[in-house]
Every structure is written in C-alpha cells, then in structure tokens.
C-alpha cells in the first residue's frame, strides 16, 4: 500500500499545504519523508503541514518534519505545522521538536504566519 495517496498537496497564496490523512507510524513516516524530499527537490520554499486528521505520530515522522524545516530555513523558507491533536503535541514536546518547528492551532493561522 502506498500511503502517499493519503497525503494531499494543494497550494494557497504560493504556499504548499500538505494535508496528511493517515496516522504516521513507521511505514507512513517513510512516505512522508519522500513527499517532503520531493518538495525540497522542486525548490518549494514555504510549506504548511496540516495534521488535523492524524491521531498518531512517531519519532521518525517528527524527525522528517524537523529536518525539512531546518533545510527550508537555510534557503529562506520554512515549514510550519498546524492542527495537532493533544497526544501529537505531547510527542512534539517530549522530543523537544516544538521548540524547533513552529506549530499553529489552525491552517489559517499557519498560513498567516508566513
């Protein structure tokens, strides 16, 4: 099964919005990394990742988001995350990733932050 089909890309005001519609355990986390790497290869600079339909995230997926956010910042862009369930917020806080990646309550607030 290819979980990239559950990762929908759209664009608003020049910002790529990646909406994840699957839980992010190891298998889907690898696919998330591939999707994000493709965005980097396409020279996309501004990305919002909407996690409103995700109820689980593991450290591999968090690491992929952190890594791409860091690389985008090096080229003047950024990756912001929005709409995390409470347990996802706890995972980001536990790892410390919430101090590295900007997290917003809603997609609109993440878009407005660019």
């Amino acid at each position: 099964m290819d979980s990239t089909k559950l990762m929908k890309l759209r664009e608003e005001s020049g910002i790529k919005i990646l909406e994840i519609k699957t839980d992010l355990s190891s298998y889907a986390a690898s696919d998330l990394r591939k999707v994000l790497e493709d965005l980097l290869a396409e020279k996309v600079e501004r990305v919002v990742v909407n996690l409103s339909q995700v109820s689980h995230i593991n450290s591999t997926a968090v690491g992929a988001l952190v890594g791409v956010a860091k690389r985008l910042r090096q080229s003047g862009g950024d990756l912001k995350i929005c709409a995390l369930a409470d347990n996802l917020t706890r995972t980001f806080n536990l790892i410390g990733a919430s101090s590295v990646v900007e997290i917003y309550e809603s997609e609109n607030s993440a878009l407005a932050a660019f």
């Binding site: 839980d23 190891s26 689980h56 593991n58 450290s59 591999t60 690491g63 952190v66 347990n87 706890r90």
Partner: protein, 151 residues
C-alpha cells in the same frame, strides 16, 4: 483477570507495525487504560518495533516476536528481534551505541529519539541481548487500580 499472554510474530517490515499498533491500542483500551495512556502505549510499541525492524533484522523474512502479558496490575510488552548479524556495524543497537545516540540527541536531531521516548513513557524499560544474538526490549505499563480512582 488472571495473567495471560498473547504472542504475535510479524514480518520485519514497517508495513506490519501499524496494524500491530492498532491491536495494542484496542487491547489497552479494553483493559481500562486512559485515552492518554493508550496513545503512550501505542507510541512506545511503534518505536520499539521500528527499531527491531530497522536495526535488529537481517531481512523481512525473519520476523519480530512480541509477547504481550496482561496481569491484574500491569500490561507488559516484550519485543524480540533476531539481530542484524552486524554486531560491529554502526546501526546495531548495543547499549554503548544507545548511550552514544542518547548523548547526541537534541530537539534538532532528525533521528535518535525512539529509545528516549520509550524510556520516558514506559513505567519500566529493559533491554538485553537474547540467545539468538538479537535484542529483547521489555516495557511495562501499570494499570490503575480501582482504589486509585478519585470518584
């Protein structure tokens, strides 16, 4: 409820971690764990199985074994891999290698958070070599006793 064991063997591939995570979530919920604790148990299982698949298996055919022990006051999960047979390789998770990963872990790290999460969320965590040359990881989650509930 008397002590009882559930034994599973999954292929050493990422794809099988998600249904296993769903299973342990349903089980933990049935045992009365809170929603928050169910999420913790699922995350811990995901991280341990991911390590077993990526660092403790020669290929997908060897499999990862799980023993889930339900007791009156605890839920114990034992994950056993057979080892990558690359004891000298950088990716094999020895205690020394884990200490090195933990020492280098930072919020900016893309990898190396798994065991930190497991240690942080499980009530008990143990890791040791097994007879097959692989790794056994055992975690225990305490079940809330009825007398602990504040009604």
């Amino acid at each position: 409820m008397e002590k009882s064991d559930i034994k599973l063997k999954i292929p050493s591939a990422d794809f099988y971690i998600e249904p296993t995570r769903a299973f342990i979530g349903n089980l933990a919920q049935s045992l009365g764990f809170s929603r928050k604790r169910v999420a913790d148990i699922q995350l811990v299982l995901d991280e341990i199985c991911s390590n077993a698949v990526h660092h403790g298996s020669v290929d997908a055919t060897v499999g990862v074994k799980l023993r889930i022990r339900i007791d009156t006051d605890s839920l114990e999960i034992l994950v056993r891999d057979t080892g990558s047979r690359q004891a000298e390789a950088k990716n094999w998770l020895t205690h020394e290698r884990l200490s090195e990963i933990e020492a280098n872990r930072s919020p900016c790290s893309e990898r190396g958070h798994g065991i930190f999460i497991v240690k942080s969320l499980a009530d008990t965590y143990e890791m040791q070599r097994n007879a097959a040359g692989g790794t056994d990881v055992r975690v225990v989650f305490g079940r809330l006793k009825p007398s602990d509930l504040k009604l």
